[in-house]
Amino acid sequence: MEFLFYMGDVFTPINFGLLLLGTIGGLILGATPGLSPTMTVALMIPFTFKLEPQQGLILLGAAYTSTVAGGAVSAILLKIPGAPANIATTLDGHTMAQKGEGAKALQLSFIASAIGGLFGVFLLIFLTPVLAQWALAFGPSELFWLAILGVTVIGTLDSSSVVKGLLSGCIGLWLATIGFDDIMGAQRFIFHSSVSGGINVIPALIGLFAIPQVITMFAKGPKGTDAEIIVVQHHPIGKAFNEIFSRKRALAIGTAIGSVIGLIPGVGGQIAGLVAYDQSKKMSSESAKFGTGHPEGVIAAESANNAMVGPSLVPLLTLSIPGSPTAAVLLGGLLIHGIFPGPTLFTQYPQVVWPFINSMLIGQILMCVFGLLIAGWAANVARVPPAVMAAVVLGLAVFGSYSVQHSMGDVYVMASLGLGMFFLERFGFSAAPLVLGLILGPIAEANFMQGAMIANATVGQMAYFFTGWLNWLLILIVVASIGYSIWMELRQRRYTTKEDAQA
């Protein structure tokens, strides 16, 4: 309960001002395509040079919290996921916005983010020592199986055809091999200097999701034959809360999966949203509705990606190992003030750590309040005429891709992937499985290589990858996940007509 003792520190005028600044700034930067949470926090580090350690960390904590949630705004309204964490949010969120339910989608995403986020930070407060052991439990073999588990999600992401989903997953896996490989440093498929560093995930995300819809909007022409007028429905905030609590299952699954997977160094943040989406779809009684603008999709994805924020800091604060790129930036923010994370952190610098953690708690609530305030207004984006919208999204896509590392190469990558995806979508392929392949490919490969090297030096590959309860648990989930997909596919074929399957 020590955190309550330091709660007052967050509410001193300067600290609370910084908290507000971090939250609002984080929301805006997070909603900007191309600025991932890692980039946003890195941008704020120079401001902390001049601040006291406590103040600096409050600013960073609040910013980290709200950028993750801010990413949902562009995912829902523009179909540009701000970071890999928001991919799953686009699947149902953007469909809702297109139906005029943008306000509802945003409200649900902010409330779900706040609930998931608060749960995650409470885990950080109360269970840190236990969680630290869990973060260490994932070695190369476990991470390899986890990545494979991620691949099995592909079947769920593309509802029209498992085969096409797997095919686009394979394209993603191939794209992931471009560049220097992570372990041996070999060059693969570097056919142009733009891709010599591999395909950067953020420009790829922007291209794959945003560009096909830009082309579609341009193709409709200024007046467009089917220019439907979207009525943006007003959605009272009270109803959003009711909606969330009537969908407890999605919320619980999202929060639980986000917290558990968020802990795993290097992997968690990227796939927490997608795995949560997949699991809540499989366990839902209305699983056919996922992908058609179903609120549960948004709730599961957003509660998961914010639940991950607290636990993702556990390895950093207890073991001094940054478990995610954002944690690495935060480590810099601590070191610059001469604060070394580790088990003694909480006893040596309680006046810094607890306000930092508290700022993430209060930040979640502030983020939710501000989010709800702007949701109704922001949803009007859907009313912008397609031609204008296409120009704006295209501008943001170019800006976002360029700003990742000030490179025109990334813009070319974004544009070519987007153009390719436009044609693939004509043939019924979808972007989500492709991105999943792109993200998981390097994780699976690098961990397999490392595992194999350790195994060859010690017990042998079979023994290495197939011993330990965690390995077997993951293998069993993989088998169950594949089995479920096959069973659903067969059942659909038997009982439904073609139209139903595609609906």
Partner: protein, 322 residues
């Protein structure tokens, strides 16, 4: 009239002459960019931000330095960019990591070598150390080597990747001790390699002194030896490899500093070479670096040129056997 014209001509030539000779008298006129070939939050990025924070002072560059991260492929992406695409106008600097970029250029497949860049100054030297988990049965390097002798190729130890300082240290250890070891390059850099040691996935690891120092403060690792010529002030109780009987020099020490692309005008290089080391010597910089556990080692342009040339020779010999 004729005199007036002659005078004007002379004056103009004189002005043009000074402009040509000096050329860059007003340098720098706008903010300068420092390319770091590792991601935000990494040790190089973190240190680069600290050592450039006083750049805007009047006695330093009088212009702020902005950090630009171009990460990927162990630094190859950023250095390729600096060598081939960056403008050599003095407004684009790059951070170097030796031995990384030299080893990569010897390995091949990249567009740079030591000739592609002109060093300005060195700010830090982070030696590699050998770490084992806090509960490991190894208490000295001789324990480690004894195990490796009994289990040829069975001593697994992690490091940040291939053709980086850690890998060089691993090769040196293998050669000096005359044993076969299993070096496991990690895809998540030094932090990932350290995690593997703490989690017990590998029996030991080569890691940065600064990170190992922090980990030891956190009580998760033991440090068994330093891959450098002398002991380090941060951990003066840990003996060097040489003291423990292994002929290992400082070839793996991770030197970090500032360079510019070859072709940058000489006056600008001279100006930077004169100013940048004094900027590193600033007291605020030193105290921040000290607080962050990052060993400083300031070297001027001549010293760095010599160090680069030395490394080129050592690394060529070491990597020839691969």
């Amino acid at each position: 009239m004729r005199n007036w014209i002659a005078g004007a001509v002379i004056a103009l030539t004189a002005m043009a002459g000074t402009a040509m000779a000096d050329g860059h008298g007003d340098y720098p006129e706008r903010p300068i960019m420092l390319m770091v070939s590792y991601g935000a939050g990494g040790a190089t990025d973190f240190q680069a931000r600290i050592v450039t924070m006083t750049a805007g002072n009047e006695d330093a560059l009088n212009m702020p330095v902005a950090i630009l991260n171009k990460s990927g492929a162990g630094g190859r992406v950023g250095w390729n960019w600096l060598a081939t695409q960056a403008e050599a106008d003095g407004y684009t600097l790059g951070a170097y990591n030796v031995p990384h970029f030299i080893a990569q250029s010897i390995e091949g497949g990249v567009d740079y070598s030591t000739d592609s860049f002109e060093p300005i100054a060195n700010w830090g030297a982070d030696p590699a150390v050998f770490v084992v988990a806090a509960d490991s049965k190894f208490n000295s390097m001789s324990d480690v080597i004894a195990y490796a002798t009994d289990n040829p190729g069975g001593l697994t130890f992690s490091g940040a990747g291939l053709f980086v300082g850690h890998h060089i240290a691993a090769l040196q250890l293998e050669k000096a001790a005359g044993v076969e070891l299993a070096y496991i390059p990690n895809n998540a850099g030094g932090a990932g390699a350290m995690r593997a040691v703490i989690a017990g996935e590998v029996l030991g690891g080569v890691n940065n002194l600064s990170d190992a120092f922090r980990a030891r403060e956190a009580g998760t690792v033991k440090i068994l030896g330093v891959f450098d010529l002398e002991r380090n002030a941060f951990i003066d109780d840990v003996p060097t490899m040489m003291e423990q009987g292994y002929e290992i020099d400082n070839a793996s020490v991770n030197y970090r500093g500032v360079m510019v692309p070859a072709g940058t005008p000489q006056p600008i290089i001279d100006h930077l070479a004169a100013v940048v080391p004094t900027m590193f010597e600033n007291g605020r910089v030193a105290s921040r670096m000290e607080a962050g556990g990052s060993p400083m080692h300031i070297m001027n342009r001549e010293e760095v040129l010599e160090m680069w040339a030395q490394r080129q020779v050592t690394l060529e010999a070491l990597l020839a056997d691969l």
